[in-house]
Amino acid sequence: MKPFSKSWILDWLGGLGRIGILVEEAFGSLFRRTVEWRDFFYQLYFVGVKSQSVVLVTGAFTGMVLCAQTFFQFHKVKMDTATLAVVSVSMCSELGPVLTGLMVAGRVGAAFAAEIGTMRVTEQIDALRTLATHPVDYLVMPRLLAGFIALPLLTAESITVGILAGYGVGVYLLGIDPAYCWSNMIHFTHDVDVCIGLIKAFIYGGLVALIGCYKGMTCGEGAEGVGRATTEAVVYSSIAILITNFFLTLFLTQLFKP
């Protein structure tokens, strides 16, 4: 084996080990009840409330374009009234959680990595440690919990707005019959689709927060280190969401629709 590939594998395994330790510390902090709750509520506001505009715009326009594109294809085979059913199922189980996760990764994952990374290079994390405060309790756990809670809520919003926007485009712009369109959507969309979407969102919330915090906590020295950590947080979170989505789709579908 070449030395380069050997060191790459060792670095990769080392990184996985460090993430594992961070997760263990984070959940230990939850059970020890040493989480900083005030900071948790602030992070919930930052992740949840402050991400609304970007998530709502993404959800609405995704629903609209999906509706238009589906209509153009279905219209050829006279299945116009099934358009909103496709929009609804896609938004619930795939597009809602994935696109919300990606948008939050860009906004929140980057912010976590930059903020914690800057604290690291300016010795603020060392200062926390000297003040008898565990950085995982103070910095990681509030963000992780906020990610877990905020993302399913944002996803639910995104799904709702996407379906309503798709309905608006389908009915008022493309002329689909509203009663059949709505009835087909209700008929083909099951509780399980919504459940799968929200479970995915819960997991993506944790992934985005964990990768953002991890990249910040382990960032290199100086402005370059912070810049690289921020970029990597967004790239790795996005890739993690896309890869995890495939396996979650297979697993959750098997679980809920055997």
Binding site: Q124, A127, R129, L131, A132, H134
Partner: protein, 249 residues
């Protein structure tokens, strides 16, 4: 009491500390001097467990902190206060929130008690009335004072100072030195100061340790060190560069 035995630390292939031994008694004021990049700050961080050594022992009141995990170290660190080189104030917080930070978990204190303690700590560092300022509104010297107020508000037994006068003008440096002496005498704390500012070392140290070639080369009172005829010590005190170092520019 702080005792370090045969401490070794490498960063990759670079040896930084190679067999450091030292002992600091309670209430003593010790200054560690040495070249920039010579491992002084690394040594200071080992004393509070911010870095782990590759081998050796660090005993705080007889307890070896090297094998401890981060959670166990948090308990030991309650004995310490530390002033960082860049002050390391939390930039999202005001001065008052920074200084009150160590007290936030103490449920026996009311908001009024905490405000009183913050005002008292800011008085000690001669910065009254700055509670609502942000760190970005403060000068370098003021930041260090706030950092010191934060480090002493919970009355630690040991205060560590990492380059407290670096980057400050001589007048502000003098005021920081006086503050270090005042904190030492007022709170009866053990002080460990890392610096390469010889004026500051002479003023605040009861004993000076010279870190050279990854070890403590010499230890003595400021008078002994400044009167030393050892060429290596004299070179550092007089600030004479090695002729070889000129050629590197």
């Amino acid at each position: 009491m702080i005792e370090v035995r045969d401490l070794k630390k490498n960063f990759g292939t670079q040896k930084v500390l190679d067999g450091v031994n030292l002992r600091i008694e309670s209430g003593e004021s010790v200054v560690i001097i040495g070249r920039s990049g010579g491992g002084k700050s690394v040594l200071l961080k080992q004393l509070i467990g911010l870095n782990k050594p590759d081998s050796g022992e660090v005993l705080i009141d007889g307890q070896d902190i090297v094998p401890m995990n981060e959670r166990q170290l948090l308990e030991v660190r309650r004995k310490f206060g530390m002033l960082f080189q860049g002050a390391a104030l939390f930039d999202s917080m005001t001065v008052a929130q920074n200084v009150a930070f160590p007290l936030r978990r103490d449920r026996s204190l009311t908001a009024k008690d905490i405000a009183g303690k913050v005002a008292e700590a800011l008085d000690v560092v001669e910065l009254p009335g700055t509670e609502n300022k942000k760190p970005s509104e403060l000068s370098g010297g003021m930041k260090k004072r706030v950092g010191l107020a934060r480090a002493i508000i919970y009355e630690p037994q040991i205060v560590l100072y990492d380059e407290p006068t670096t980057g400050l003008d001589p007048v502000v440096s003098d005021s920081i030195d006086k503050l270090i002496i005042r904190v030492r005498d007022h709170l009866k704390v053990t002080s460990v100061v890392v610096t390469h500012d010889m004026r500051s070392a002479r003023r605040v140290g009861q004993r000076i340790l010279y870190l050279l070639d990854k070890k403590i080369y010499v230890s003595g009172t400021p008078e002994e060190i400044f009167a030393s005829t050892d060429p290596k010590v004299r070179k550092f005190i007089d600030g004479v560069a090695d002729p070889k170092e000129h050629h590197t520019f």
